[in-house]
């Protein structure tokens, strides 16, 4: 395959990998790898796919670890600046090596399992949380064609899988043999299950407007205008509902009752120490990243540049470097940069919520969902249906 692209030099390849990783990986690197592995390595077709899956899993694991570590530092710095102080700045410039110091510290801790705890459940709980997180990350598109996989029922898959996190919290709370943990776990279960509904309805409204369940297609369609304004006022309302309910779904303040320090010490993860505790933390930060990524994907155009009513910023149309016969859109800024900037902005907003607002009480939390957000999302859905039927945004 490489031979047919004889004009493609190594520096060209790297440049294309940086600017358009999706098409480059699927049209150049993938076939080249396949040819090498099946030809020289003697793999079968299934073996090649298994190898690709293995590489993707590793890449995702690496990405998750690095992102979660960076987010822990970001949280501390953002919190510090809100609180009129500087945050970690001793370990490395601007505290950049602080996450590494934290990891090393947690690795050294004694792994305490309470004697009365239900051991298998106790040991398994953090990993179940991580599994749910990884599963959702698999279909988020970071750039055109750059996702671990693209299901044509992507949105349905997300809604189904994001509820698995509650299992981990329930397991942790129940198996800790501690009244406080149990209280935290039960509160959290009620909270997450309730707050599945509004985001699902809001996402349904986006699906209704776009006409497809596939996440990639939703992002592609936003090339003519982000959903935030293409859906009219319902886009704004939908974004707000999704952001609020998403924050509640990931147990972050102002909805962090399950881990309310001033009431329950540490809630469902009171009895965890060392690396097990850090798995919960990683899962929490990655969930925050996922909600932010989904908000960016569904409403802010994902990897698309700024687009309003058909006008797009900062791009040109020209011959495809990989296949000069075709004409494609060439971005001046790679799509994943847009994606990460948008996600980072939403992550910042979520952190902003945490360090500004007091905590909501559990019954007020339930009231907010069932009496306010859910009816609002129904109304939003109907309004989007009428909007789409009237022909706007087509």
């Amino acid at each position: 395959m490489i031979d047919s692209n004889a004009a493609l030099t190594a520096s060209d390849l790297i440049q294309q990998l940086i600017l358009r990783p999706g098409p480059t990986l699927s049209q150049v690197v993938g076939p080249a790898l396949k040819a090498y592995v099946m030809g020289h390595g003697g793999f079968s077709e299934a073996g090649y796919h298994a190898l690709v899956a293995f590489l993707c899993a590793n890449a995702m694991a690496g990405f998750v670890t690095v992102t979660a570590l960076v987010l822990t530092l970001a949280e501390r710095k953002v919190a510090a600046f809100f609180q009129n102080r500087k945050g970690p700045n001793r370990v490395g410039p601007w505290g950049l090596l602080q996450p590494i110091a934290d990891v090393l510290k947690l690795l050294q801790k004694e792994d305490i399992v309470p004697r009365a705890a239900d051991k298998p459940v106790f040991l398994l709980a953090p990993f179940v949380g991580m599994i749910a997180t990884y599963m959702v990350l698999a279909i988020i598109p970071f750039d055109k064609g750059l996702a671990v996989t693209d299901l044509n029922i992507g949105v349905l898959y997300i809604t189904a899988v994001s509820g698995l996190g509650v299992l981990s919290i329930l397991m942790a709370g129940w198996s800790s043999a501690n009244k406080y943990s149990m209280l935290g776990g039960l509160r959290s279960a009620a909270q997450i299950v309730s707050y599945e509904l509004s985001p699902a309805l809001v996402v349904l409204s986006v699906v209704l407007f776009t006409g497809t369940l596939s996440v990639q297609a939703i992002v592609e369609k936003q090339g003519q205008g982000w959903n935030l304004w293409a859906m009219g006022p319902m886009g704004v309302v939908g974004l707000l509902i999704y952001l609020v309910a998403g924050t509640a779904e990931i147990n972050r303040a102002p909805f962090d009752l399950p881990e309310a320090e001033s009431e329950l010490v540490a809630g469902y993860h009171t009895e965890y120490s060392g690396m097990r505790f850090s798995m919960f933390q990683l899962a929490e930060f990655m969930n925050m990243f996922i909600i932010a990524a989904l908000t960016a994907t569904l409403f802010l155009g994902g990897w698309q540049p700024l687009a309003i009513a058909g006008h797009r910023l900062l791009e040109t149309v020209g011959p495809d470097p990989l296949d000069p016969a075709k004409t494609v859109v060439l971005f001046a800024i790679p799509g994943y940069v847009y994606f990460f900037v948008k996600t980072a902005l939403v992550v910042f907003v979520i952190m902003w919520f945490r360090w500004t607002f007091p905590r909501v009480r559990v019954d007020q939390l339930m009231k907010l969902e069932w009496k306010i957000l859910l009816p609002l999302s129904f109304v939003n859905l109907i309004a989007v249906a009428l909007w789409a039927a009237a022909g706007f945004g087509k």
Partner: protein, 375 residues
């Protein structure tokens, strides 16, 4: 339930009440307080406070020291209003001796007491908001408190346990930069209170967590002996600085803020407004500050045989010092009537029926300092 009886829908699901222990080591109990609560789900059915975890026998230790020597004990009870507690004690001794305190010393006492009230209320504000989850407000409260505490460090060398009052006056005169710094603090507090109102009071979540929660009726407040912002939050306009004035308070012009409903919100509002009133008092004191000595010439401190009592208004309420003298240099019996003891007493009544999270809110709004209760 017997098998032949049809269970009613309410009793069909068997639930159990359970006891939970909040404290003594707990981020929200403001000290070592153990609250044993009976819960039905999230609802509190009964609260039993267990005290004594920081009982240090201060009243007994006071019997071993001479009157001037035991001023430092009073710092360590309600350590957030240490100046005022110092003052309550020396006031009772001065009453017993008939000492006339110089005017400059009286003004200095009022100034440091109001500054102490400011530092106590800003710290309470920070701690209360942090209990409710707004961690950032904690740092904002402490930023203002730091100004006052730094000023006290320059004045008497201590940031928390001042030991500044003496029988007959104060320990030492003001530093040269004291008055300009107090002016700066007044300006800062006025701006800070606006910031607190914008950030916290105006926040819907905060209002939902405090309005209508933990209602203390005026009758209950009076019957439990509550005082300070807890009493005034219930609508009873009683402030010792106005109703039984001492020192130079009669010459100063200030209001006494009260609440209407007696919920956590009202107690919060009373303290915020009290900060502004303290600023008013400070500004007047700066203008009226005379020169002169800061300590009266007191020879031997041997109160005549008898019982003496004096009270004043600390940041938390009515602080009374009662002692029995047998004519010796050391007291026969020293008793401190502290505001927090009575303020906490109403918790088992007003905390019942609310959720666990509300108990935290109610306890925070009562503003109890546990060493003040246990002594």
């Amino acid at each position: 339930m017997p098998m032949n009886q049809t269970p009613q829908s309410k009793d069909a699901l068997k639930t159990e009440e359970y006891w939970i222990n909040m404290g003594p080591q707990h981020p929200s109990t403001h000290g070592v307080l153990r609250l044993v609560m009976k819960l039905d789900g999230e609802t509190v059915l009964q609260i039993v406070p267990h005290l004594g975890y920081i009982h240090r026998s201060i009243e007994r230790m006071c019997e071993w020291d001479t009157y001037p020597q035991l001023i430092h004990f009073t710092d360590r009870m309600d350590y957030l209003s240490a100046m005022m507690t110092n003052w309550a004690y020396v006031q009772s001794v001065e009453k017993s001796l008939g000492v006339v305190v110089p005017e400059r010393a009286e003004y200095i006492r009022v100034m440091v007491a109001e500054l102490n009230r400011l530092s106590s209320h800003t710290m309470w504000f920070g701690a209360y908001c942090m209990d409710l989850g707004a961690a950032t407000a904690f740092f904002y409260g402490f930023r203002e408190r730091e100004m006052v505490v730094d000023l006290f460090e320059a004045l008497c060398g201590q940031r928390l346990t001042y030991n500044y009052m003496r029988i007959g006056g104060v320990a030492k005169d003001l530093t040269e930069d004291f008055v300009p710094r107090v002016k700066a603090i007044c300006e800062t507090i006025k701006r800070a209170v606006d910031e607190y109102k914008a950030l916290v009071s105006g926040n819907v979540i905060f209002q939902q967590r405090t309005k209508g929660i933990g209602i203390l009726t005026p009758e209950a407040a009076i019957s439990y002996g509550c005082s300070g912002p807890v009493l005034r939050g219930s609508g009873v306009k009683f402030d010792l600085r106005k109703d039984e004035p001492y020192s130079v308070y009669p010459r100063l012009d200030f209001d006494v803020p009260t609440g209407a409903a007696g919920d956590c919100w009202d107690r919060y509002q009373v303290r915020i407004e009290e900060m502004l009133q303290s600023v008013r008092i400070l500004e007047q004191c700066i203008n009226q500050l005379p020169g002169g000595a800061v300590q009266a010439d007191v020879k031997a401190v041997r109160p005549a045989k008898g019982e003496y009592y004096a009270r004043l208004e600390t940041a938390r309420g009515d602080m009374g010092v009662y002692f029995v003298s047998q004519g010796a240099a050391k007291p026969y019996r020293m008793k401190f009537r502290t505001a927090c003891f009575n303020n906490l007493a109403c918790l088992p009544e007003i905390g019942v029926g609310w959720k666990v999270a509300d108990v935290v809110s109610i306890l925070g709004s009562l503003d109890v300092v546990i060493p003040d209760i246990d002594r």
